[in-house]
Assembly symmetry: C2
Homo-oligomer: 501 residues x 2
Amino acid sequence: MAKQQKTAITPTREENYPEWYQQVVRAADLAENSDVRGCMVIKPWGYALWENIKAGLDGLFKATGHVNAYFPLFIPKSYLEKEAEHVDGFAKECAVVTHHRLEAGPDGGLVPAGELEEPLIVRPTSETIIGATYAKWVQSYRDLPILINQWANVVRWEMRTRLFLRTAEFLWQEGHTVHETEAEAWEETRKMLDVYKKFAEEYMAMPVLIGEKTAGERFPGAVSTLCIEAMMQDRKALQAGTSHFLGQNFAKASGITFQSREGREEVAWTTSWGVSTRLIGGMIMTHGDDDGMVMPPRLAPSHVVILPIIRKDTDREKIMAYCNETAEMLRTQTYAGRPVEVVVDGRDINAGEKGWGWVKKGIPIRIEIGPRDMESNSVFVARRDKGPKEKYGQSREEFAASVTSVLEEMQQLLFERACAFRAENTREIDSWDDFVQFFKAEGGGFALAHWDGTEETEQKINDELSVTIRCIPFDYEAGGEGTCIVSGRPSKGRVVFAKSY
Amino acid sequence: MAKQQKTAITPTREENYPEWYQQVVRAADLAENSDVRGCMVIKPWGYALWENIKAGLDGLFKATGHVNAYFPLFIPKSYLEKEAEHVDGFAKECAVVTHHRLEAGPDGGLVPAGELEEPLIVRPTSETIIGATYAKWVQSYRDLPILINQWANVVRWEMRTRLFLRTAEFLWQEGHTVHETEAEAWEETRKMLDVYKKFAEEYMAMPVLIGEKTAGERFPGAVSTLCIEAMMQDRKALQAGTSHFLGQNFAKASGITFQSREGREEVAWTTSWGVSTRLIGGMIMTHGDDDGMVMPPRLAPSHVVILPIIRKDTDREKIMAYCNETAEMLRTQTYAGRPVEVVVDGRDINAGEKGWGWVKKGIPIRIEIGPRDMESNSVFVARRDKGPKEKYGQSREEFAASVTSVLEEMQQLLFERACAFRAENTREIDSWDDFVQFFKAEGGGFALAHWDGTEETEQKINDELSVTIRCIPFDYEAGGEGTCIVSGRPSKGRVVFAKSY
């Protein structure tokens, strides 16, 4: 008896969420593990998604006055050591280049040779190497602000890796800015957080909370780390982006000083901010379902796939021509700043398998065109946000005229659905018993609870429940004072607790 | 007495070409050396140029059916060793990662720790690591062709480096394709060479010769290397791009086999092709002059700079408004697929210094707008392809209406000028004496001469004159047979000799 498969992905989210995630990444052809420990291969469909993410973010960065540049992959060990907390944070997980050639060894194989005088670290982040350059560029207040972003690969030697969420090498952008005043640097830090929030919500359809990290969760060397936090479908939090106010820490370490308007030598103020290919993990876990990936239309590599249904070989030519003509009609439309992108999938493989392949990849709209559709000048439409068998016929003209509004409607629905999910799984909690109950018996989510502000309490909660403070909302005092759920000490407002990735 | 400076760049090309090059890179704010040996910092103006190069090439790659993906930065040593010639070619200049953390050492500083079982090589090129992945992807002829490109950074530990032309780390694209048949792989190799030629000539305005490399100049492990070769203004050749027919060498090494249409297990055929940030060096040395960089309009980061001439502070607001209005008029035009990009440079610095800054950066068009221009509704125009003082007045409407055709005219003129230069410095040479004379006394260039086809003769010429065979033109037999200028042995046709970068 053939195995009855209810969903395209096995296991389902309910059955085994982490394994479901791996299977979606595989089934959607987004990425795979390489033979190099912790390094992934981003496959064409996944990379096309990254290209759209890049284009969207890059546009927002440029609109806020930033330009791109490129700095070295390698950081001399002594540079990393310049900021004490920073090197502490990264020393345990960095790839170290010690030699610059290979030579025949005693047993015939090649061995590293040409030892470097000073080891080089493959950048885990670039504050120190960029800081060294900025120190040369900045002489006077007239050279400020510096508003530069870099698109790059970075390496952090993580022991447990998971595709997109945590990999040894990942792709990201890192903004590094320098300012005359503390206020201006703070404004930049916050501005870029808002850019991230806008991108997450309007492009990725992924609602995020914003706020400040506690001291324990700060970027190593930062004065303050701001973050966007999203809720995944297993109710865990994903830190999706961070914006750091670095104060004068890195400027002092790198020697970024300038002559002020008053003619004094002053130390500059810096910020850094970044998001990475982890965003793709966030999209999968926000929108994916038991049939695979669901692409938010604004970032989808393609918007529509046309599936010709060819039952007789003699029909092939006519149907393909009709499909290609339909594709051209759709491509004349513009959605979210680019032409509607259409694939005509004429591969000669099993039609069911072909259709399911596109469901799993998460393409927003599938349309089927067979001989009868062609005769009646119509198309058969399936939307990825509906059940896989929920299809409807429509005249081709009507479909073409409505395609961009359907895409935008889907984009909005995905966002609303994610907002509703987060709302359902966010709760104000006022006692330790309820807090334990929430995370241990009720599946957890975001708990808004009072905290006494100490690292000790924070650590205790983490030790007992593996729950951390995801952020202190900017307006956290607005909800009123209370008492800490652990210590009973006074608290100025509720902070956000959750399990996290 | 103030120093009389005739040109914006010192020294001139005539006086000291290599030093002129360095000074142009610096004065145009394109890039600089970092503190990391051989690694450059690509500054915003240089990186914006690279972004335009990327966009142009990426469009051509996609139009020829290619998609992008991303593969690991690191290559296990054993992978590099799989292809004997390949590892021989790269072992001498590769960055080797041997450890994955830093630990406090005996003297308190940090030392490399966590030695890797197998050293990892920072990719100098990705045939072997991509090949290992392709071996998993390819099972049947139905999986072919694979047509993938990667945009990435690579590292080759060069001893003598020069900004853009030869750096330890550089940015590039590398296409890696897999095919069913030898003929198809050959067709791809040649197709991508033609894409490079098209890009060099139509976008960079840099004429190139195309042909095949001799055995001694081949990519390590390739069966054949095709190349585009350009002539710089010092008459030396620059290899600006290569396309490799890899035969079955790498497919065998990586185990890329497939079940053929006839049901047999067969070894696939592969190609690879790449161009890098070296292209920027080629543009500088093709178009730059004694006043700095000259940007071909199609790739220029910005097309027009508007320089407000403000003599009285009370005029500032009005003039700036007029300038911004002019910028908006220009931005409504489209040139080469993007809006005309305009900078309004309102910085409050010396007007001469400001204008010369833009000359050195190579922006195609500068326009000055002062109070009288504003009153007469006109602009004062300077083109970068003319002398720095050759300016003309024009009504604003007339200028705006003609700006895209002026840009295109400049693009064509730059190309024609470069073609003429190459033609002037290319010569058919039939005797060893003339050949020596050409390279030793007449400044050299491209010498088209008969060669007997032996490595021995090639080596002899290189040893005596540091002149190499840049390429064997595809149609080299069309010019007729002859005798080798060194050995007097028969030759089927002329090949291209030059000094080179």
